[in-house]
């Protein structure tokens, strides 16, 4: 399955109907994960990206399959948008041998190298230099691949961000640093954690173009990323994109949401939901009717419900699996 959401060549506009489908897949995946957790079916943690579907689909979703993404702990949307097998993602989270990582990784480490998903990360900020390395590899191999590195706003305060951006800049690496500024790192409002207005300003000190965009507008995300990709492919080096968005749910399972007001949440959830915004556009443009959308949503829900039911029957890893993969096999 090629995950790429195509752009019509003339005006660079997205195939918004497929994009909407992907966005709904992400949201419904997350809702079902939440439900599985509430039902006690999930051992481990999860970081839901509900409200951030446009940054996933407008970013990872428009890359070529051979391009790489580097993801974070809030990874499910990125993984789905890049074409990671959704059944295998459910299986990973349910601890099955059929999971993307054979059950060993869990939510935070979902990877699928076959579709260009270089993996998610439990260490905030760890992806920045890894992405630089993947881009270096592409540059040295002349492969024409680009790397899209996702990170949260909070992650830009790790030293690794600054070290990696500098490196990417001096070597003009084909990498796009994509900051999903969802306003908070756990409970910490980014406003209190940096003393600048726009995170994209940080690019300047490393000689990297920085852009701040509306991260809940799918078209704007996709067009910005597409331009940065083209620049990177043509040897123009890295770009820093800051996309303004919001996470609807808590940071993780233990968040009591004491640090933000209900009014603020409502504002984003109700009036600035990326899915609602895209749907409104599609309806206005007569590309879809509300009925079409309801059918689409319903069919994904049904499809995922049967996926989960079947994943639950999958085998779990056995004791022997504890010992596999500690070291890679030697060349024969």
């Amino acid at each position: 399955m090629n995950p790429k959401i195509s752009m019509t060549e003339k005006n660079g506009r997205l195939d918004n109907v497929s994009a909407l489908r992907k966005m709904w897949e992400i949201r419904i995946f997350e809702e079902m994960i939440q439900q599985l957790f509430d039902e006690g079916e999930l051992h481990g943690t999860m970081h839901l990206c509900i409200g951030q579907e446009a940054t996933a689909v407008g970013g990872a979703g428009i890359l070529d399959q051979s391009d790489w993404i580097v993801s974070t702990h809030r990874n499910h949307g990125h993984c789905i948008a890049k074409g990671t097998d959704i059944r295998a993602m459910f299986a990973e989270m349910l601890g099955k041998k059929t999971g993307t990582n054979e059950g060993k990784g869990g939510s935070m480490h979902i990877a699928d190298l076959d579709v260009g998903n270089l993996g998610s990360n439990g260490i905030v900020g760890a992806g920045f230099p890894i992405a630089a390395g993947a881009a270096l590899s592409a540059q040295m191999q002349g492969s024409n691949q680009v790397v899209l590195c996702y990170a949260g706003d909070g992650a830009t305060n790790e030293g690794s961000f600054h070290e990696a951006l500098n490196l990417a800049s001096i070597w003009q690496l084909p990498v796009i640093y994509f900051i999903e500024n969802n306003q908070y790192g756990m409970s910490s409002s980014i406003e209190h954690m940096v003393n600048i207005d726009l995170l994209s300003e940080r690019g300047k000190s490393y000689g990297i173009e920085g852009i701040t965009i509306d991260g809940n507008d799918l078209d704007e995300v996709a067009q910005t990323v597409a331009k940065a990709v083209e620049k990177a492919r043509n040897g123009g080096g890295p770009t820093l994109i800051e996309a303004l968005t919001y996470r609807h749910k808590g940071h993780s399972k233990s968040d009591k949401l004491m640090y933000r007001s209900e009014a603020e949440c409502r504002q984003w959830q109700k009036y600035n939901d990326p899915i609602v915004r895209l749907e409104t556009k599609l309806i206005q443009q007569d590309q879809m009717t509300p009925e079409d959308i309801r059918l689409l949503e319903g069919s994904i829900r049904n499809e995922f419900s049967s996926l989960v039911a079947s994943v639950k029957q999958d085998e779990e890893p056995t004791s022997n699996d504890l010992w596999t993969h500690v070291y890679a096999e030697e060349n024969k």
């Binding site: 060993k104 480490h109 910490s188």
Partner: protein
């Protein structure tokens, strides 16, 4: 005495230390309104203000380095790392700076900081959020390393760590946070470097650290029914290490099991074993020393694999039986 959880005991010690000593302050990610990664700092920012309970950016190197600088210049910082795995990001400041400054400066400066962190497996959080890396720190001269196994020890040891003039690495186990025990209401210190006999017995000694203490006590209860009397010794602090208490116990029982959750290979259990093996006791033991530790694998997220990766109560019971199967004159 009233009963409180391990988490409350940590919180109470921090509260009392903030009240007692103006120089004490806390810094870390989300330690304010969120109450810290696991809730240990709940309510403290409300009580002492955002100056003394400081939320930091996600910058572990800066957190540790700022703690070092503040500690050298008259403050008593207590830093929180949400998960002990993130110590890797703070490593230079703790290992190359905090640990060595007093010595390198010929005793001219002190670094009285406490690094508190949640360690261990059992929550399915995967390989980057479940490690027990305390032995790394125990390998570094200049750092003290504390690993409380119950609520009472957590409170008293934390007070002592805060008063200590050296950098102290304080490892709290995530699965212990919800366990309860009798804890005095007033502040008290438990000296660093004093082991505790958690259960007195005569047939075999289990030297256990952190969460393995609880598992050793459970195993002891099981084998008691078969007439085996187990002594459980908890070093409580890895550095300084109370070798005397360990040796005295094994001198009495002549059989010993060493148990840590941390990966066994090159782990602190090797150090504990060496204490016995290098003493006179080595030639008087009734059975070979048995060492139990985590398997040599990154911690898997999947539930049953995760449980298999660390010693559980039944592995302790088996080890006890194995040790007891040696008759004294065989040795």
């Amino acid at each position: 005495m009233r009963t409180i959880t391990y988490l409350q005991a940590v919180n109470e010690a921090l509260d009392e230390a903030l009240a007692q000593d103006e120089r004490v302050f806390l810094l870390g990610e989300d330690i304010g309104i969120y109450g810290g990664g696991f809730g240990a700092t709940q309510g403290l920012q409300e009580k002492y203000g955002a100056q003394r309970v400081r939320d930091t950016p996600i910058s572990e190197s800066a957190i540790a380095g700022a703690a070092v600088g503040a500690a050298m210049t008259g403050m008593r910082p207590i830093m929180e790392l949400q998960f002990s795995d993130f110590i890797t990001v703070a490593m230079d400041q703790l290992v190359n700076q905090a640990a060595k400054i007093h010595y390198m400066y010929g005793g001219k400066a002190n670094v009285p900081l406490v690094m508190r962190t949640a360690a261990g497996s059992g929550t399915g959080a995967g390989a980057q959020h479940s490690q027990s890396l305390e032995n790394w720190m125990a390998h570094i001269p200049g750092l003290k390393v504390v690993q409380p196994s119950n609520a009472y020890d957590a409170k008293g040891l934390l007070h002592a760590a805060i008063k200590d003039n050296n950098p102290v690495m304080f490892y709290e186990h995530k699965l212990l946070y919800k366990t309860s025990g009798a804890v005095p209401e007033k502040a008290y210190d438990l000296p660093l470097g004093v082991a505790d006999i958690k259960l007195t017995g005569s047939d075999i000694t289990i030297i256990a650290t952190g969460i393995m203490v609880d598992k050793a006590l459970q195993a002891a209860a099981i084998v008691k029914k078969k007439g085996i009397s187990v002594e459980v010794v908890d070093p409580r602090t890895l550095v300084p290490l109370d070798e005397q208490t360990l040796i005295q116990s094994v001198a009495k029982t002549k059989r010993v099991i060493v148990a840590t959750e941390a990966v066994k290979n090159s782990g602190f259990s090797a150090e504990l074993t060496a204490v016995i093996a290098e003493s006179d006791l080595a030639i008087k033991l009734a059975a070979p020393i048995i060492r139990l530790g985590g398997e040599f694998v990154p911690m898997p997220a999947q539930k049953s694999l995760e449980a298999q990766a660390t010693p559980q109560v039944d592995s302790l019971v088996q080890a006890i039986e194995q040790s007891m199967s040696y008759k004294e004159d065989q040795a």
